[in-house]
């Protein structure tokens, strides 16, 4: 099979050996699980449990929010059985160190599952399958945590040409996909077969970097023994080891030669890409009926025993890294690898679906970056950029806060892989500048959208007020016209002579339709006086009174008069 190439990339020291040699260990349930509700791209799931509730392993504790962003949300589940202690804000594994709503569960130690039922996707509609995957909390486990059901839906219109399974795992230190493929190749392959059927893909290419010969062999062996694959359209491909071969666009380019242009998606070219971990999660959800409650996490770096663990989602990082015995000079934790990872605000933050690796750092292992020096325009960053961008241009515009220009240079095609900063001889933290520029642009866009909505609502209100005023004026005019007409009719009854003149006037002006002539002011005044007189002679509620009532009123009036004289002794009473 012919392999293609992507431009740029770097070859950092892999540091994978230690953790990759040991089998996956199961990390026991901690004292408390802290499960954030918002773990995927999209809307925040709404909590389904309250403090004090008993939950089982795999029970849904957060329902996907389908109201705000369409289907862009994914459910979360209790990782083990136990009692909900609280639903409260906790510090998130996020560079900001800000808090968000989490469900805190105290495990009961029984690890008791909910009733698990395999999902028969062959006898359900695609939309049912998508809803099932959404409610099983399946998201992309390569690190981007994009809800998987949304990627399945893209294949509904036309058959997919190529399904790419990403087992490249190019970032240093991380070995969770490697171990998963070595130990659970059959399950991974079954997940791939399910994905292939759901997407109706013509061929499947499993891309694995050639520095993982055991994983390649394991998947190949599983493929030869697999009975479900029914044809030879699934291929395992060894790709050359070069960072970032595991980037979706880079892997697609290497395997198919398709370069996804700016503003397009891989699905527009009949290609879809899933991580091997996601394929495994899909297998567990569909074939075993288990929602996503755990994942494989590499613990590496400044630890005595680097290893991969199967970790319950929500396990605090300090409990997990304790199994690997961090060394004394540990000063920080990094979620992800050394190239793209972000420093955690503390060791109490939980493992989430996006956590593929916890890199324990020390000043010796990851020394603070040397001071940033001026850009010397050497162009090394452009040579290293795997997205074919011009990092130096992006850097200048981001640094100068000229965000429009940065966007023109396709800032949003940057995958933040860190190759440019890795090769920069001036030690410029280029990715930090891009992240800064991106979040500023997003904030601007949010502001713009809300300003547009405010303008629309303001203009609608102006319109509505004008309409209401018009309607009020029209109502008033109609009322005046009606009362005039009634008056005219009244006058015509009382004064047949004027009525006759009116009629004769009307008939004489033959072409004009019968239109009541306006009464003269004198007539109007006379009519108003007549109405006032009529009102004066109308019965009031005091007109017909029994003698008893009259006596009561007189007594009350007498009391009032007395009170008045007492209250104001110096003044005569009002009336």
């Amino acid at each position: 099979m012919r392999l293609f190439n992507f431009n740029g990339g770097v070859k950092p020291e892999p540091h994978k050996k230690d953790a990759a040699e040991l089998p996956i260990a199961v990390s026991p349930a901690p004292t408390f699980l802290v499960i954030p509700l918002h773990q995927s791209i999209g809307g925040t799931p709404r909590p389904l449990v309250n403090a004090g509730d008993l939950v089982l392993k795999g029970q849904r504790i957060g329902a996907a929010d389908v109201s705000t962003l369409g289907e862009m949300s994914s459910a979360v589940h209790a990782s083990t059985s136990g009692q909900v202690v609280a639903v409260e804000e906790r510090c998130m594994p996020h560079p900001s160190g800000l808090s968000a709503l989490c469900v805190i569960i105290q495990p009961d130690g029984r690890d008791q599952w909910i009733a698990r039922q395999p999902f028969d996707y062959r006898h359900h509609s695609p939309s049912d399958t998508r809803a099932y995957l959404r409610d099983a909390g399946i998201v992309g486990l390569g690190g981007a945590v994009f809800p998987t059901h949304l990627k399945i839906s893209s294949g509904k219109h036309s058959a997919l040409d190529t399904l790419i399974i990403n087992g490249a795992e190019c970032e240093p230190f991380i070995t969770c996909d490697d171990r998963l493929m070595r130990e659970r190749a059959d399950a991974v392959l079954r997940g791939i077969v399910i994905l292939r059927e759901l997407l109706n893909a013509r061929q499947v290419l499993i891309g694995i970097e050639d520095n993982k010969p055991e994983a390649l062999a394991a998947i190949q062996a599983a493929l030869t023994t697999c009975t479900e694959k029914n044809d030879a359209a699934i291929k395992v491909v060894a790709v050359p080891t070069r960072y970032p071969a595991g980037g979706a666009k880079q892997l697609i380019r290497m395997l198919t030669g398709i370069e996804v242009p700016h503003g397009k998606r891989a699905t527009d070219y009949g290609v879809q890409c899933f991580n091997v971990g996601t394929a495994y999660a899909v297998y567990e959800a569909i074939a075993l009926g288990q929602p996503l409650v755990s994942r494989i996490v590499t613990v590496a770096g400044n630890v005595a025993a680097p290893r991969n663990y199967e970790v319950l989602i929500g396990t605090p990082m300090k409990d997990l890294i304790a199994h690997s015995h961090p060394l004394d000079d540990t000063n920080r934790l990094i979620m992800g690898g050394p190239m793209m990872g972000v420093t955690m605000p503390g060791a109490d933050v939980p493992v989430i679906k996006a956590t593929n690796c916890i890199l324990v750092g020390s000043p010796k292992l990851f020394p603070p970056p040397p001071p940033e020096m001026p850009c010397i325009r050497c162009g090394e960053c452009a040579k290293a950029c795997p997205a074919d961008l011009q990092p130096f241009e992006l850097y200048w515009f981001s640094r100068a806060k000229i965000f429009g220009k940065a966007q023109e240079y396709h800032l949003f095609d940057c995958i933040e892989c860190g190759c440019c900063a890795y090769v920069c001889p001036s030690n410029i933290p280029l990715v930090d500048y891009y992240r800064f520029a991106k979040s500023e642009i997003w904030a601007h866009e949010r502001e713009k959208a809300s300003a547009d909505e405010a303008r629309e609502r303001y203009e609608f209100r102006q319109l509505r007020e004008a309409r209401e005023q018009q309607e009020k004026a029209a109502r008033l005019a109609a009322k005046t016209a009606a009362s005039r007409a009634a008056l005219l009719a009244n006058m015509a009854e009382n004064n047949p002579v004027s009525n006759a003149t009116l009629v004769s006037e009307n008939t004489s002006g033959a072409t004009t339709p019968a239109k009541p002539a306006a009464p003269t002011p004198a007539e109007l005044i006379a009519a108003a006086l007549a109405r006032a007189r009529a009102q004066a002679t109308e019965a009031k509620n005091t007109t017909h009174l029994s003698t008893a009532q009259q006596a009561e009123i007189d007594a009350i009036e007498a009391r009032r008069a007395e009170i008045r004289t007492q209250a104001q002794p110096h003044f005569p009473p009002d009336d």
Binding site: A100, F436, S439, A454, R457
Partner: protein, 185 residues
């Protein structure tokens, strides 16, 4: 001589016709400058500029009746953008029109609300729901933070609460290089 004159005359007529046609065909509705200015203004509709909304202020700027530094919610950045668009000199925000504040949302203390509807009538973007003698509440997503609902409230139950930073609106900070003291001899 005559053919030359005729050719020139014919050319003039043809070009005139083409221009006349273009003027009718590609006629621009509305005032594009007002639209551009309005797009820069923050659409708070607060009236602090002295005009009854962002659009009237934009119209006044376009006509040259108003200055560009009268919009406190737009802040310094807004003034710079207006200065750029109109080719004028930047000037600081005029103090008589107010000061730039962090964006806030109106929050009604629902226990104290008496349901008078006065704030509903004051809200320029219809972001308050409620009915006479019923509790009122602010639709947070649509509140522009204009503060126009605060003065009419007879029981002072509306507070302006600054928007707190959370994970969805958190921004990466501008990279700053930490300066280390040099070892002294």
């Amino acid at each position: 001589m005559l053919p030359a004159l005729l050719i020139m005359a014919l050319g003039a007529v043809l070009l005139g016709a083409a221009l006349g046609f273009a003027a009718v065909k590609f006629r621009v509705e509305g005032d594009p400058l007002t639209e551009k200015i309005d797009a820069i203004l923050p659409q708070t509709q607060c009236g602090q500029c002295g005009y009854p909304g962002c659009k009237p202020y934009a119209t006044a700027i376009a006509k040259g009746e108003a200055d560009i530094n009268q919009c406190p919610p737009g802040g310094d950045e807004g003034i710079r953008k207006l200065a750029d668009l109109l080719g004028r000199e930047y000037k600081p925000l005029s103090a008589e029109h107010g000061v730039e504040k962090p964006k806030a949302l109106a929050v009604i203390d629902e226990a104290r609300c008496i349901g008078c509807t006065l704030c509903i009538q004051a809200c320029p973007v219809d972001a308050i729901v409620g009915a006479a003698k019923q509790m009122h509440t602010v639709i947070a997503a649509q509140c522009t933070g204009c503060e126009l609902c605060v003065p009419p409230c007879p029981v002072d139950c509306i507070a302006m609460v600054p928007i707190a930073e959370d994970i969805s609106n958190w921004k990466w900070k501008y990279p700053v290089v930490a300066i280390k003291p040099v070892a002294t001899r």
